[in-house]
């Protein structure tokens, strides 16, 4: 979070200062990467890099505060992920066998990584039972820590629609947990 220094950082970014871009990247990229990993986006790190290049290209047209900037970056990244998913649906690729726990941020401890993998699989099963909009809203609200207004900007819906999607998504999660369908 930049707080009061946001204006100067944004101005430095517009001027092409490397230090400013690096600060912005380090502030936003981790939560963005986390969102895409939970979303199941293939090559989330590449997508994060691609997102920030698009942010650089479009920064001159951006006007807003830090919260709006964060929502704007997430919106760009989500749209890019949707485009890539459509492209890969038309041209399916074989999964890379090198994809493993280490590339997903593994700790190097086999037991911890295994437990985390189980937890991740369980959560992914629940997320798969949700509609795409419900899944995006819950991930952005609960994982990326965005406000309702920011999520509305990201998914292109009204704040009321976001609240409704969140409520229905949580109800679906409760049903899945109570059914015990996702217990391992």
């Amino acid at each position: 979070m930049f707080g009061s220094s946001w204006g100067s950082v944004l101005g430095a970014c517009r001027a092409g200062a490397e230090w400013a871009w690096r600060q912005v990247y380090e502030d936003v990229a981790p939560s963005l990467l986390r969102y895409h990993r939970a979303r199941g986006t293939p090559d989330p790190e590449d997508l994060v890099g691609d997102t920030f290049v698009r942010v650089v290209r479009g920064l001159a047209g951006f006007e807003g505060n830090e919260e709006q900037f964060r929502a704007w970056v997430f919106a760009i990244s989500r749209r890019r992920a949707i485009d890539l998913a459509r492209t890969s649906a038309r041209r399916p690729e074989k999964p890379d066998p090198g994809d493993g726990l280490t590339e997903r941020g593994g700790t190097g401890n086999a037991e911890d990584d295994a437990m985390r993998s189980l937890e991740e699989q369980r959560v992914l099963v629940i997320l798969d039972r949700l509609t795409p909009d419900q899944r995006d809203v819950l991930l952005l609200r609960l994982l990326s820590d965005l406000t309702v207004e920011q999520v509305a900007t990201v998914v292109g819906k009204s704040a009321g629609a976001v609240k409704a999607l969140q409520a229905r998504g949580l109800e679906q999660v409760r049903r899945e947990i109570s059914r015990g369908a996702v217990t391992f």
């Binding site: 690096r22 990247y25 939970a38 890099g49 369980r122 959560v123 609960l142 949580l170």
Partner: protein, 226 residues
Amino acid sequence: MSRSFDPADLTAVGETFAEDLSSAFPEVELPERVVRDHVATMISAAQLLAEEGAIVLEPASHPGPERLTTPRRRWMRTRLIRRVVAVASGLLLSLSGLAFAGAFEGSDDPGNDDTTAIVSHQTDDHQGENGDDQGEDGDDQGEDENADDQGEDGDDQGEDENADDQGENNDDQGEDENADDQGEDGDDQGEDENADDQRDNDNTNEDQGDNENVDDDQGDGGDSQD
């Protein structure tokens, strides 16, 4: 920025699921190598945009005046000006050629008018000499009086043949009394052939009268010779 995770908005299930999500997908710092590569790519993109003059920000159809300073834009502007000048020159040459041709043909019109006047004199003479010829000419004028004149002058003036030709003919008629008579006779002959015939007969009678006078003169001459 207020924290979005508001427990009041979420049920207990939501809180539990949020914890599950956080433990399943912890926030991991990106490797320094990845950060360096991404930032370097971002800086390259920013420099590329700065060199291109932020073309992305402005529509290509409305570049500002300062945008017309790169060599490519200058070249395109020069090429556009050349094309406009070439088209304008071609158009000017075409129009001048048409105007030149029109001037030549316009110079022939007075000659035609003179010819018409001469023909009208001759016709008047023939009326006096031969009534049958006058009757035939009168029929032709009555059937297609304007068409003959328009056919002659129409080639010269093209777009508005009738109006111009009629105007010229009116002018000619005003200048030449014989031509006026000819036109009036033509109208009368066209409307009423009988009237023409009567006039022809009158003329013929007059001619005969003249001939009688000639005979008288000859007689007188004869008398004088005697």
